[in-house]
């Protein structure tokens, strides 16, 4: 007792109010862990998950409205508007994804209660990672989410591809972890600290070998986690193998959170090394755009095509990082937030379609979909146009923001690559639309849509259209966040 008293006396109690959202998610996950043992009631499990997620939104909105900023857990955990806004979007995305779990898993006979609480653990890891003030917090959060996602990816019952994809993800993600932690070790050796602001003070604009090697390893490891070419090999396999709702989770929530933490670490700990890391990201972004789009062109499987398109989108988003300015960071935030909506729409559409018998995700399965179900085909058309970046949709605004940021910094070659590769991407996005609208239905595959799926797809496509016509709210959020992030240094 006296030892505990001593520790608390010298360090003080951590402020638990600041970790309330994370605590709520953790408690929900543990409640689910117990409840799932006793009941197989799918509605109850889904309801509990959604309830926990919704309740965890309340303290986050309270932080925003009261402007609460602060550290807790001895300067390891940091609540500030940048992470708070991203957490709100991640939680809302997870709500939409979890809603679509039950119909899919029931149809595929692979329902496990584990899906729900491991998703919550992965989300918890991402939230901890976003609140990092020190590389320790960042590392623990990243690993909590990675380890949870390895399990999620490999849990598809009696499905060999799921295991193979998950194992590839585990091996490549594990080497990514090792590379990131080696980078952290080198940074620690060069600066003597793991805290972002102390790293900044210790290294300033030093260019010694330890600092630069640490930075390079960190960038390589993060590029691996976010599936940028040439470290993307795991992504298409893991995305194709996993159950489609899980793919949705991996391609949206995990990816966007990783992109946000990349911006946060590089801006907060390395603001004086911008020429170095922006050069590294411009190479990675150009490769991702070129290779992702060209390989996507030759895919006949739509799920794998969307996986490669997700690699290409990593390229578009990290191109904003190459600009390295406030406009660039703002474009990155804008694009990653809207990418959540586009990607959820596309993947949930696939998961809804996969439920019909002998649907193999092949492009031929899409033939004549517009005749059989005009509404859902129209929504898919909007989502595809947005991923491609055609003006009335919000996808255009995202690419436009990145383009402006690149022009401002006069990185012309990358801006040209961005535009040319967007045109190349029309080849595969429009192919889906062509197959849906310009062919007669060949087969009598009956399409049965569940209510959550219809709701998600409708919401996402209407949202994409509305925010494409009126993008001001998102522009304001991302501008404000970019200013906050650069002022936090």
């Amino acid at each position: 007792m006296s030892v505990i008293e001593q520790i608390v006396g010298t360090l003080g109690m951590p402020n638990f109010a600041l970790v309330m959202p994370e605590l709520i998610i953790l408690i929900t996950a543990f409640i689910l862990l117990i409840v799932e043992l006793f009941t197989k009631n799918k509605a109850l499990i889904t309801g509990l998950t959604i309830a926990g997620l919704v309740i965890s939104l309340l303290p986050l909105f309270q932080f925003l409205s009261n402007g609460i900023v602060g550290n807790t857990f001895y300067d390891l955990f940091w609540v500030e508007p940048f992470s708070t806004i991203f957490k709100i979007f991640l939680i809302m995305a997870t709500i939409f994804i979890v809603l679509n779990y039950t119909p899919y898993f029931e149809a595929k006979k692979t329902f496990y209660g584990e899906y729900y609480y491991i998703t919550l653990f992965a989300l918890l890891g991402l939230m901890i990672m976003l609140s990092a003030k020190s590389l320790i917090t960042f590392y623990i959060g990243l690993e909590l989410s990675s380890v949870s996602v390895y399990i999620l990816a490999g849990m598809f019952r009696k499905h060999y591809k799921s295991k193979e994809g998950a194992f590839k993800y585990l091996i490549i993600g594990g080497s990514g972890t090792a590379i990131i932690s080696y980078g952290i070790a080198l940074i620690y050796g060069a600066s003597g600290s793991l805290d972002f602001s102390e790293i900044l003070n210790a290294i300033m604009n030093k260019y010694d070998i330890g600092t630069i090697a640490g930075l390079i390893l960190l960038v390589v490891g993060l590029a691996l986690k976010v599936a940028a070419v040439p470290f993307h090999q795991w992504a298409p396999d893991a995305y194709e193998g996993a159950a489609t709702p899980i793919t949705t989770f991996m391609a949206t929530v995990v990816k966007v959170a990783t992109l946000a933490i990349i911006a946060k670490i590089l801006v907060l700990a390395y603001p004086l090394h911008i020429p170095y890391w922006s050069f590294a990201w411009s190479i990675l972004a150009a490769l991702s755009m070129i290779i992702g789009n060209f390989i996507a062109l030759r895919q006949r499987n739509v799920k794998r095509m969307l996986a490669y398109s997700s690699v290409a989108h990593t390229g578009y988003i990290t191109a904003a990082l190459a600009a390295g300015t406030e406009t660039g960071i703002s474009a990155l935030i804008f694009y990653s937030l809207i990418y959540i909506f586009m990607s959820i729409g596309g993947f949930v559409f696939l998961s809804a379609m996969e439920k019909s018998n002998n649907w193999s995700n092949d492009i031929n399965d899409f033939k004549g979909l517009a005749k059989k179900n005009p509404m859902i085909a129209l929504f898919m058309l909007i989502i595809m146009f947005s991923l491609l970046g055609i003006p009335p949709t919000v996808g255009f605004m995202g690419k436009f923001g990145v383009f402006i940021a690149l022009i401002e910094q006069e990185i012309w070659w990358l801006a040209v690559v961005l535009v040319v590769m967007s045109i190349v991407s029309a080849g595969y996005y429009l192919r889906v639309v062509i197959y849906m609208y310009m062919y007669e239905p060949e087969n009598d595959k009956n399409i049965n849509l569940a209510i959550p799926e219809v709701f998600t797809i409708t919401f996402m496509s209407i949202f994409i259209l509305l925010s494409g016509i009126y993008p001001t709210i998102f522009f304001e959020i991302s501008r404000a966040l970019a200013i906050t992030l650069t002022s936090l240094i």
Binding site: Y160, I171, G174
Partner: protein
């Protein structure tokens, strides 16, 4: 006393060995072992830099890495079991189904 640079060199060597192992080995278990080797190389690097800096946070980090390595090994072995049950094989040359 051995200077810390030697330990860093050793850790770098182990790291490269692990990376080469992942690339050249064709057995699932050997690949998993290689990732563990890389994580342990990081542990050596942390302890070595800790010696240089004269702080304890590097040693604390080592404990986190150990925990994470254990978790990853557990999941990796579980997946290898599942793969072996479905395919009766652990050689990547023969069991790969997902290709470019």
């Amino acid at each position: 006393m051995v200077p810390y640079e030697y330990y860093v060199a050793l850790s770098g060597l182990l790291m490269v060995l692990g990376l080469v192992g992942i690339i050249v080995r064709r057995n699932l278990i050997a690949m998993l072992l290689s990732t563990e080797l890389m994580l342990n190389a990081v542990n050596i690097a942390f302890v070595a830099f800790d010696m240089k800096v004269g702080d304890v946070s590097g040693q604390v980090f080592v404990f986190f890495i150990l925990t994470i390595a254990a978790a990853e090994a557990a999941i990796g072995l579980g997946l290898i079991m599942a793969i072996y049950r479905l395919k009766k094989d652990v050689n990547t040359e023969t069991i790969t189904e997902l290709k470019l």
